[in-house]
């Protein structure tokens, strides 16, 4: 058996049964490689033991960079590089800088976050042929993939039984060579 190439797939057809199933399978000591779902299932990430994403923190940092850079650039341009008297407002009219500072903050926070999301999840147009365990997981089925190489202590027959008992409607083997 080649390492990391052989999987057992438990196919579920209901998100609530899937959630219970994930708890049961993990309780039985099985290492779940990944679960593929057609839509976001609430609570699935915590059930699988994933931590909440740090992307909001990243977004906040990008936003702060936007705030500071926009404000300091405007202060430097109108306050120091070329000071001008515009309507008697003074050289550094802070209230007038608020709209652009806000817009630039949002600009960097939003684009920075999405770009980071694409990088960490490896989502790019050139990945147009991703390896799918089961194409139905983009339609209406929930697919739990179990890597045999990471569960060598459990027999295959036993794994199949655990999946069936957890509510999987199908149990398939998949060679990912």
């Amino acid at each position: 058996m080649e390492k990391g190439k052989n999987f057992i797939l438990g196919v579920f057809d209901d998100e609530d049964i899937l959630l219970e199933g994930v708890h049961k399978v993990r309780k039985a000591g099985v290492n779940i490689h990944e679960v593929y779902t057609p839509f976001p299932v609430h609570g699935l990430d915590t059930a699988l033991g994933y931590k909440y994403s740090n992307l909001p923190v990243a977004s906040f940092i990008y936003g702060m960079i936007g705030t500071i850079s926009a404000l300091s650039t405007m202060i430097w341009m109108l306050g120091f590089d070329w000071p001008m008297d515009i309507g008697g407002k003074g050289h550094i009219p802070l209230p007038d800088f608020i709209p652009i500072t806000f817009e630039f903050t949002v600009l960097l926070a939003a684009h920075g976050m999405v770009l980071t999301f694409f990088i960490v999840s490896n989502l790019w147009p050139w990945n147009y042929k991703p390896k799918m365990f089961d194409p139905r997981s983009t339609d209406d089925k929930f697919v739990m993939a179990i890597d045999l190489a990471k569960n060598t202590n459990i027999k295959i027959e036993e794994l199949e039984k655990i999946l069936k008992d957890s509510g999987a409607v199908e149990v398939n083997k998949k060679d990912m060579n």
């Binding site: 992307l55 070329w82 999405v114 989502l123 983009t138």
Partner: protein, 454 residues
């Protein structure tokens, strides 16, 4: 485990299941273009070509082709700009603000509404470029290093704020929309073969639906919604400041930001209503865009229309109460001057017509909803025209009072944006999933009226 609300009617009717959602939505993308679509596309392309000729000639010859004069320096151009930007706001409102408020009825209409936002903002940007006269110098609006001793743009100007607001709004809307499209493109990819599979594979960015990716996806959606909500409010606030920071009577009012934002949502929902009422019939999506959705949108149209009505009355009251003679004159001129008919059109279309929606029977009437959605958009166009033109046409010096008469090119450039908008929307409706499949599937169990337990 079937959870159905005893009070609320289902959001998706017809006993649909997740696989039905996939089939119903992908059918449009996978099928051959229908005759209706081809005819609509043909008309849009002809309009676009005619408009492109007018726009090209305008840029070649200069702004003298428009009906502007030295008294009325802004007219149809800025009217159309504000009109299109306002229309765009409904998409962001539906996808961002309704997401934060957990309004699940948004799932069936958010995709198309966001697409409408993007195309509408692009149309608005066309007028920004067109009214510059020399669009090849558009980058002068940005603070770029230059050979004039680094003469920077004036950050005190609301017009410069607008450059930042519109460009941020456009790009963030595109990204928000596209991130939501990725999982649905993956669904189409897995059903496709050959070249189509490669194209939709590229569009789907290799999405596989991992639980980890969904977790991140949800985080991104929530933060983008949180960012877009103040953004959309700021954009129309800044658009209103283009007027409010000036000292022209009729423009120089603090009521403008909330008044403009309410008006934007009002016209935007009317446009969503127009497009959705057509789409649901042509694509047979009555089970997804139900009477409940249409009624909900009509309620928002009623609310925002009434806010706009109160704003009109408040403006008049303040003009009288402030005792400022110029302000008073402007408002009397607005209602009873040479543009009284535009004012009357605005009042009847925006304030009176939505009041029909107080009645449940009328809110759920498709024909009336369709007619009123168009009436509202006509009214909102007149609102911007009234604000812009009637504040300018009779200025401080009676010898320079003037009227504005649109020329062939005023109409032509407006036609260009219609051609552009509908061409883009038709392409979207044919080749992209018009309803957010992944999001609709999340509510199918709780709100599809599907009594059969899994």
């Amino acid at each position: 485990m079937q959870v159905t609300s005893p009070v609320r009617p289902p959001l998706v009717t017809g006993g649909k299941k997740a696989a039905d959602v996939t089939n119903d939505i992908c059918k449009q993308v996978e099928g051959k273009p229908t005759k209706v679509w081809l005819v609509a596309m043909g008309i849009s392309l002809i309009t676009l070509a005619f408009g492109a000729y007018c726009l090209g000639t305008l840029w070649w010859e200069g702004l003298g082709l428009w009906g502007l004069n030295k008294t009325i320096g802004w007219s149809w151009d800025i009217t159309n700009f504000v009109w299109w930007v306002g229309i765009g706001h409904a998409g962001t409102l539906i996808s961002a603000i309704l997401l934060l408020f957990r309004q699940k009825w948004r799932t069936s209409i958010n995709r198309a509404a966001e697409a409408m936002t993007i195309f509408a903002v692009l149309c608005a940007a066309t007028f920004i470029l067109a009214h510059m006269g020399r669009p090849w110098l558009a980058h002068w609006a940005l603070p770029l290093p230059n050979t004039y001793g680094s003469l920077w743009v004036n950050f005190n100007s609301a017009l410069v704020w607008d450059v930042f607001a519109i460009s941020t709004y456009l790009t963030v809307s595109i990204v928000f929309w596209y991130v939501g499209l990725i999982p649905d493109f993956a669904t189409i990819r897995e059903r496709a073969t050959g070249v189509r599979r490669v194209i939709y594979g590229m569009l789907s960015f290799g999405w596989t639906g991992k639980a980890k990716d969904w977790s991140r996806f949800e985080a991104v959606s929530l933060v983008l919604a949180g960012l877009s909500t103040p953004l959309v409010l700021s954009v129309h606030t800044i658009v209103s400041m283009d007027f409010a920071t000036s000292i022209i009577p009729g423009w120089h009012t603090t009521i403008f930001p909330p008044y403009f934002v309410a008006g934007a949502i009002f016209s935007g929902f009317a446009m969503v209503q127009t497009l959705m009422l057509i789409t649901r019939v042509v694509y047979k999506l009555e089970d997804y865009i139900t009477l409940e959705h249409i009624e909900s949108m009509n309620k928002i149209i009623l609310l925002t229309g009434s806010i706009v009505g109160i704003a009109y009355i408040t403006e008049f009251f303040i003009a009288a109460y402030s005792g400022a003679p110029y302000e008073k004159f402007t408002f009397i001129n607005r209602a009873f001057g040479p543009y009284w008919w535009a004012y009357a059109a605005m009042m009847s279309c925006n304030v009176i017509s939505p009041q029909f929606f107080w009645f449940k029977k009328l809110r759920r009437n498709l024909v009336l909803s369709f007619i009123l959605s168009i009436v509202v958009n006509i009214g909102m166009w007149f609102e911007r025209f009234v604000i812009i033109c009637t504040s300018l046409n009779r200025d401080f010096l009676p010898s320079s009072w003037a009227m504005f008469y649109p020329t062939f090119y005023d109409i032509g450039v407006y036609m260009f944006t219609f051609g552009f908008f509908f061409t883009c929307f038709l392409l979207f409706a044919k080749y992209f999933p018009v309803i957010n499949m992944a999001e609709v599937k999340t509510i199918i169990k709780s709100s599809s009226g599907n009594k059969e337990s899994h």
